[in-house]
Symmetry: D2
Subunit: 301 residues, 4 copies
């Protein structure tokens, strides 16, 4: 369980004391506020704050387009229109702040999304906890033999046992020695900013991460995708559920146009048109490379 | 008065219906929500939404610095420490959304601040109102004779009257002809996206502008500064008051370290040290150019 | 002609003196450097500087993916792979700087792309030239009756003549009065930062605009699109040609996957699959709204 | 030595073949191109490409300010004026691309600067080399007893030896086990994206890092500062030298106004004025907290 009793009491306390506000309120998101949703073995995602709801998107769009939006009959239709036509600025009018606990190697991938605000726990100032990500047996995958960045079959038997044992013992020893180097018991104690270098990338860190809805959608499209690494995908998938409760209309449009949709190249579009016209198109006559054709066939069969 | 009776009724309605929330609430900002604060002759600033308060800054800093922040005795001290040492990320954890009505030439200067989200009323979709900024007589300034981007004395007498008459009549005629070109009465009517090109830069536009507190402070430092053009400065000055009510501790630190402070160059620092040691330093012995020395003397006398 | 003889001489001079460099060189872009390519009646686009070429994209990708990229046989294949899979960071490794002269109402749309660096001519410091965009007769379009942001038929006869006359005379009078207010002949002269407010949105401004290739592609996809306003589209179309000469492989991938491609929603994908399986799908059985269906049919017929 | 003979041959080759260009050329930077400047025990910084020079800054400023800049007599004066008055956009017109090899814990601090473009070597795709940062004895510092994020005295004797031994043996064992888990010799081999989690934060990574001069100066001000961690400061100090050779006038202005300068708060400014007027001011009469006063005295004695 990722939270201490003290932390849980603090959350219960925060959740017990609603206050009046004149701001837009999303009931779906209020129900999630502060609660730690577990992810992986020691991680979590908590919503700390949010700004706006589906109506805020519509309201911003109507400021932009003025009377031009009146012909769209309702909020859902307008939100779908905005998403379909890449009008991203109204979605930027919503903002959300998460508290996330995650392994360092996941954090390193996550931070590449630059259009967000971050406050990370600093191992320069403070001492990290002894918490490491150790994959569950069903997630202990072999290297893919066809894809440089992918996973193959699940490891089994002795190999799996050996890997788990190595991950656990190396993490444990690294942390023991981190503590030994820091210790001021009978010695000076190494500076924290140096001692941290001994810790492996599966140690947990935590941060506050604040982002607008447009950029969050971009993050989710890439990280909740089937090609994303499992360990970041589970965070993205959980966040998808939170966003669906926060802005249900916007999330539904995102699910239809981005997550469930595909991008068709000019060549791909031409192949579809020819096929719809009854022509039998093969890789050789498609103009695509073998790799592209394989991906194309993966979608259209 | 900048708002129609309908708009005022809508604001009164929004302000009459508080709802419970579990989020951080700033009482000072709740009191401002939705109210249109007038600026210039037809402009306004309204707070539409906000996220966070002084405590949210402190909370984010404590996530970052962990136990490292415990020795700072209170929130005010920690916020001042963060501001003094350019720890900007905790201030990014607060966000605010304004509805602003402003002349186009002010909007053009404002939009240069890129780290914000904007939804502007589109004259491509919709028709602009007949509202133009006409300076009050006391703001009708002559070109500075010493500063290329500054103002000199206030225009007086016939010259002032002539300028006001020209601004009013040109704006009026431009708008009449805008309407005449758009009209579909007995003719096709020019496309809105083309007709707008006839409108002068003192016509009012409006937008939603959303920004985090760190970047808002950066905006305010530059635009509430005495060297900023009067017509944008009045917006910034009003926003300073709103921010002071929203996050009083952060604003006080900003006022002390940024607005009221100065940047001293290495040369300037050396001059101060020599003077404090009793030496009489002149421009010639300061190592500064005449322009720098004039600015330096302006601060230290 | 947009450039003075002095400016032309300066360009000829700059183009006459090549210097040795060890950096990546794009022959296609060298041929364009400094030359002013005319756009609209007084505008232009000039390439002032660039960084990188197709090989720089490949090189950056190989740093990221290491041995993982070796199986892709050649540069073209790798660049197409990167574009297809939204690996945007290698494209960010190229940068370009343009000098653009453009009407203010175009500049206002352009500046909404925030991930670029801009230095615009300041009418606060300096006096603008008497140059206004007046549409050519074939671009004088009526408001679309079906699309709030679109154009319909070209205006004809008396209406066209009337519009052109209004645009010209209002621009001329506004500029005459701008000069009259600025004049220090027998009067103080209004401050430049105020006088500029009298100028209409079809006056020309100019700026240096610097952007990385990934963000430039994003700009071009939106602004060279058939739905973009004609007056910004002509700039984007010209820049497409310059980019094609600069990074031919990257541009070809962009043309195939972005410009010529389409985004298919989950619903649209399902319709295609059903049609390819021989089913006859109508709007009613598609799950799409009428508006979406119309757009869908516009692509797949 | 950080580079393989192959890499050195590649660099020698690239440096041997200058090509003509019409772009701005900085002789000082040409001399650095591609050369690997060693940092720490296995790291380096290499300049891969650059755009612009001191003249490009001046040129961009003159586009912005037009005739308004003519009264500044020369390039140096204008560049100093721009830096002094926080006119940052002309500095954004220069761009530079570095290839950097650095320990992961340094990379994690570095990446917090978001306004840059990055392509990092991916341990998801490829296998990292067996290279770890092990501090030189003189950099093996104890935790500061007065500053949570600082260093105290250098460790000595047995404690130092013990720390070095722990860092070396843990890194070696972690890498051995990384290889053992990856091995496909008689087993499937763990996926690379999982095996990497066993590696400690002192392993070296590498990336291409591209940034504009304004944002680079911001990075250098924070990271070449005496309070920055030694292991990132040595990178920043080296880059200061490279920038000084690239844009000598801009770097000199930066050194004077930013690196060598100080920020004075309103309270600090008041104390200086009172002291210059002969008053004896103490912490009690300064209005500053004890912490602020200590820092203030540290500067003004």
């Amino acid at each position: 369980m990722p939270l201490t009793p003290e932390a849980q009491a603090e959350i219960a306390d925060a959740r017990a004391t609603p206050r009046p506000t004149l701001r837009a309120v999303s009931e779906g998101m209020e129900a999630h506020l502060y609660t730690a949703h577990p992810v992986l073995d020691h991680g979590f995602v908590r919503v700390i704050d949010y700004m706006g709801d589906d109506s805020a998107i519509v309201q911003a769009a109507r400021v932009s387009y003025g009377a031009g939006t009146k012909h769209v009959s309702n909020d859902e239709g307008l939100i779908r229109y905005l998403m379909r036509h890449w009008h991203s600025t109204p979605f930027e009018m919503c903002e959300v702040k998460f508290h996330v606990k995650l392994p360092v190697f996941v954090a390193r991938q996550w931070i590449r999304h630059r259009t967000a605000n971050v406050n990370e726990y600093s191992a320069r100032y403070s001492i990290l906890d002894r918490e490491f990500y150790i994959p569950a047996p069903e997630n202990l995958a072999a290297q893919s033999t066809v894809n440089n960045q992918g996973r193959g079959a699940v490891l089994e038997g002795e190999e799996a046992a050996r890997v788990l044992e190595l991950l656990k013992s190396d993490a444990g020893r690294a942390y023991d020695n981190y503590e030994a180097m820091l210790s001021q018991d009978g010695q000076q104690g190494l500076a924290r900013e140096l001692a941290r270098m001994n810790l492996p990338a599966n140690i947990y860190t935590q941060w506050y991460w604040k982002v607008d809805l447009h950029n969050l959608f971009h993050f989710l499209r890439l990280r909740a995708d089937a090609h994303a690494q499992y360990e970041i995908r589970v965070y993205a998938e959980l966040m998808c559920k939170l966003v669906a409760d926060w802005v249900p209309l916007a999330y539904a449009a995102f699910a239809d146009y981005r997550m469930g949709g595909v991008n068709l190249s000019a060549k791909g579009l031409e192949v579809i048109r020819r096929r719809l016209a009854g022509e039998d198109v093969t890789q050789e006559t498609s103009g695509m490379s073998k790799g592209e054709w394989r991906e194309f066939e993966g979608v259209f069969g």
